[in-house]
């Protein structure tokens, strides 16, 4: 009896510790996206620097592609930019820029200054399409498969580890 009396609080203590420890390593900003496994919402948006040309994401059917939400006003976008540039150079997968709630001139300048890894850049000036994609923390990155299904979503800056551990294996899977 005295042994259990001593043991039970100890076990409870360690259980609470384990939960708190786990809680420390969780990021509350990472909200699981309900969009994974669902078709990417359809959009038709003007292109950056070619306002009269529009781009329809249905045109990407049959291709695997990466959609990267960025804005010139967004600091973390600059942090992840080298990763995107590197990915675009080293991969066959087209990367589309999604310029979110930005001024087109500012976006163009930003791309000139920091390098333009994007095959095309679409402009979502009022954030309306961004809303359909559940964008709330720029930068965000979506990996979309040949059937137009969102297979991966990263909220916040993409790291080299995300690319090598999540995105590349997924692409490999899709190509098989």
């Amino acid at each position: 009896m005295p042994a259990t009396r001593f043991l039970i609080p100890l076990i409870v203590f360690f259980a609470v510790c384990a939960f708190l420890w786990k809680g420390l390593s969780l990021n509350p900003k990472e909200v699981p996206s309900p969009l994974i496994g669902k078709p990417a919402p359809e959009f038709t948006l003007p292109l950056l620097n070619e306002v009269n040309t529009t781009f329809d994401n249905m045109d990407m059917r049959g291709e695997i592609w990466l959609l990267n939400v960025f804005a010139s006003w967004c600091g973390p976008c600059l942090d992840e930019h080298p990763v995107i540039v590197n990915f675009a150079q080293s991969s066959e997968i087209p990367v589309l820029g999604f310029n979110y709630k930005d001024r087109p001139e500012a976006a163009s300048q930003w791309l000139t200054r920091h390098g333009d890894p994007y095959e095309r850049v679409v402009v979502d000036a009022n954030g309306r399409v961004g809303l359909d994609y559940g964008v709330y923390g720029v930068p965000e990155t979506f990996l979309i498969d040949r059937d137009g299904i969102i297979r991966y979503k990263k909220i916040g800056p993409l790291s080299q580890t995300d690319v090598s551990e999540d995105i590349l294996p997924l692409i490999k899977d899709m190509l098989q």
């Binding site: 509350p28 900003k29 909200v31 699981p32 996206s33 309900p34 969009l35 709630k101 954030g127 809303l131 359909d132 994609y133 559940g134 709330y136 923390g137």
Partner: protein, 150 residues
Amino acid sequence: MIKKLCLSMLLITCVTSVLGNEAPTLAKDPILEKRVKAISLELRCLVCQNQTIADSNAGLAVDLKNQVREMLQKGMGEDEIKDFMVERYGDFVLYNPPMKGTTMVLWIGPLIMLMIALAVAVRIVRRRSVDDEKKRSSADTDRARELLKD
């Protein structure tokens, strides 16, 4: 001195004018605004996680409020609007989490905790009253013995 004072006054007005930049409310239709407000109070602002979109002036919150207003104008119901938000942002966007398998712990957990606490409390109280009785009875017998000695 006066120059300094003027400068600081100017700075203060600058700061307050920035802080005072509240979300524009379209007070054209008070009934509509009331409904927008009611729904906004149940939706979480994902940028500023512990605020509802009604309380927040973050860009996204303003966008979502506009979205709610537009959908109401189109004649959509509250449930339709909430479904729309959940489809895009997940259950987390709802301030009241829905009852489902994954949220059961959240809903039932406190109840179970309360029951455990009650059970422990009842046990302690019972044991204590038994102890008291034992103590009292032994005290009583002691007193009786004391009295009988004489």
